[in-house]
Amino acid sequence: MASSVASLPIGGLRTSQGKQITLRDLLGWSVDHKVIGVQYGITALIFFIIGGTLAMLIRWELLTPALDLMANGSAYNSLFSLHGTVMIFLWIIPMGAAFGNYVVPLQLGAKDMAFPWLNAFAFWMIPPAGFFMLLGWFVGPPEAGWTSYPPLSTMFTPDGQTMWAISLHLLGISSILGAINFIVTIANMRPEGMGWFQMPLFCWAILATSIIIVMATPFLAGALTLLILDRVAGTAFFNPAGGGDVLLWQNIFWFYSHPAVYIMVLPAFGIISEVLSTHSRKPIFGYRMIALSSMAIAVVGFTVWAHHMFTALTPTLRIPFMITSMIIAVPTGIKVFSWLGTIWGGKIRWTSAMLFALGFLSMFVIGGINGVMLGSIPFDLHVHDTYFVVSHLHFVLFGGSVFGLFAGIYHWFPKVTGRMLNERLGKLHFALAYPSFFLTFFPMQIAGILGMPRRVAIYAPELQQWNVLISIASFVLGISTFVLLYNIVISVRSGKIAGANPWRALSMEWATTSPPPATNFIGDPVPYKDPYGYGTKESAAYLDTIEKRFGETEPGAGEKAGQALEVPSGD
């Protein structure tokens, strides 16, 4: 085998040093998927800070059982309504799209996405839509939670609710357009020699995500259309006084929003597969099962929506949804155990990316097991709409999706900027975030079981001790985010030069310079036969060739990309 190494047609035949993405690129219209990916990422991070600030206000208010920080209940209600909406629709989902945009074409050896113009268009819907939603503060913000159940959301909330709905409409359309783009790119633009089952798992994850988006998001569009009509045109779809039905919204909304939780977590699953395998230098365990379980999750995910309505639905109708909800544990379990199989016996590097990936595994499993408990109707009757649910959703969304996205940031930052993130700061970030995350959200389960409803600013005084603990931990968690932001800001200008392939990874995005040239590859690149084929002489030889051809991780390579200010840094 080794003899064929020299002739491996890897990456591009030649390459040129890529151009750094500048601020001007980011602020302008660009159809380059790499620029768009970074635009998505930065926009999402900005909204993360906004959503996080709202969370800090929530926690501040909840330090005491009385209403003190906020003027009244409505003001508090708008805090978590916007916190939930911003985090989900303007942070998690766009951040998944950010990685999808940047990484998928590179992993496929493609020059760009299938529809570059559409891609840019989909992105540029997001900042105005998000801005428009936040403008709601000036006319009275939405107050009905991110789930916005009518009649509260149709008859008792100010005009900001309409703006909320319009904004979500735009965000939904944007994500549908993005998803179409991903599916077409993945289906049609794989290179010669990359069958479906040679595709990196991140692409599988984005494919599964996109299929869910394409099938489910239209239901959000339908529901929002009716909500807007009820609010502005006097129809009565959700108003029983006019012959409407309050459960109609809940059914359509959850028919979208349960699959949507997998839209939020599948990209993180994809990232985890890449990071765990690469940073423990071992092939992914059970590739086919991981790929197919994404699809299984996507399919079964469409049949569970009413587990959010266990306390509203006719009792007999609840049972099928309990069964399907619990079944989801099986494909997810396959993934979790396959990841454990991947790291078992590997050569694990404690890079920041790896730490966050491991943090993801450990926290997501807690959230998932909570989910299965919630799926059990009798128990859900007790904890529905309590802090137990708040805990579950943050374990899967923050401990799951967000830790996964953080891992992705540490993993792909060198590719995007050509520079490494500071590892010491990365570890500090993890050391702060992991325990404070657990201490923020785990006590919520206890508070929930003890009797703390969610969405309240005033609560029973005997629950104060738990809330104080939660709030203090959450402030530490908030501060830990600044470590990441600071790290990004300093590393963009003065991080260590990364070279093409700092992690010695086999997937194709690493077989070109960092950052990649405008067309990613020159000529038609050929992928290494197995994106996770670590541990063989052949793959080692391939990686050595890449290093020779595109430059190693060392100071000096590609100096022209920016002034290398040497900053005291860890490794």
Binding site: A114, F115, I176, A179, I180, N181, I183, V184, T185, A187, N188, M189, V214, M215, A216, T217, P218, F219, A221, G222, A223, T225, L226, L229, T235, A236, F237, A241, G242, G243, G244, D245, L248, N251, I252
Partner: protein
């Protein structure tokens, strides 16, 4: 479809672009038809809250004109298909295309009339008329926008030929979409 006759003339890049566009269009159609499915489910759930449909005292919508409109729409589908074949064979597609446009316009006019005359009452029973209006209006907006796009294609008809026919194909496929969505709506609104 029989595009292979012409397509060898296209470069590899052009072929990929065309393939992408076709896949993209198909996925878009699958996706957006879901909004219509959603409205159908809404219709079914709304009527589920009434003992009879239409509710007591509300007149059932007449079948005559809408059926005529539906037939016109189906016919327009046929002409769109003819136009697409024509342009792919490097022949003039405009006559069939315009015929389709005219039939489409007829459809929209009839449905506008139906919309304006839908049974509207003030009380709980308004749901019958309201669901009808929301569904048909939602459909009509799509028909209108796509119709306008097709109109524009016709104005630039000189640019399109067998090598450059995507704009026509897209218009045609979007129009098929309008037809498919309408058949579903027609069945639900008038027959069940």
């Amino acid at each position: 479809m029989q595009q292979d006759v012409m397509e060898p003339q296209l470069s590899r890049q052009e072929l990929l672009t065309l393939k992408n566009r076709r896949t993209g269009m198909a996925i878009f159609q699958i996706s957006w038809i879901m909004v219509f499915v959603c409205l159908i489910l809404v219709n079914l759930q709304v009527r589920n809250n009434f003992t009879s449909w239409p509710p007591e005292g509300v007149a059932k919508l007449g079948l005559g004109l809408p059926t005529l409109a539906t037939l016109m729409l189906l016919a327009s589908g046929f002409f769109v298909y003819r136009a697409l074949k024509a342009v792919q064979a490097d022949q003039a597609f405009s006559p069939s295309w315009r015929m389709a446009l005219a039939l489409g316009a007829g459809f929209i006019l009839i449905m506008a009339w139906e919309w304006l005359n839908a049974p509207v009452t003030a009380d709980v029973n308004q749901q019958y008329g309201v669901v009808f209006r929301v569904m048909t209006a939602f459909h009509a907006i799509h028909a209108l926008v796509i119709g306008l796009y097709m109109f524009r294609v016709d104005r630039f008809r000189a640019y399109y030929n067998a090598r450059n026919s995507w704009a026509v194909e897209a218009g045609a496929k979007l129009w098929y979409f309008v037809i498919a969505a309408w058949i579903m709506f027609y069945t639900v609104l008038y027959w069940i």
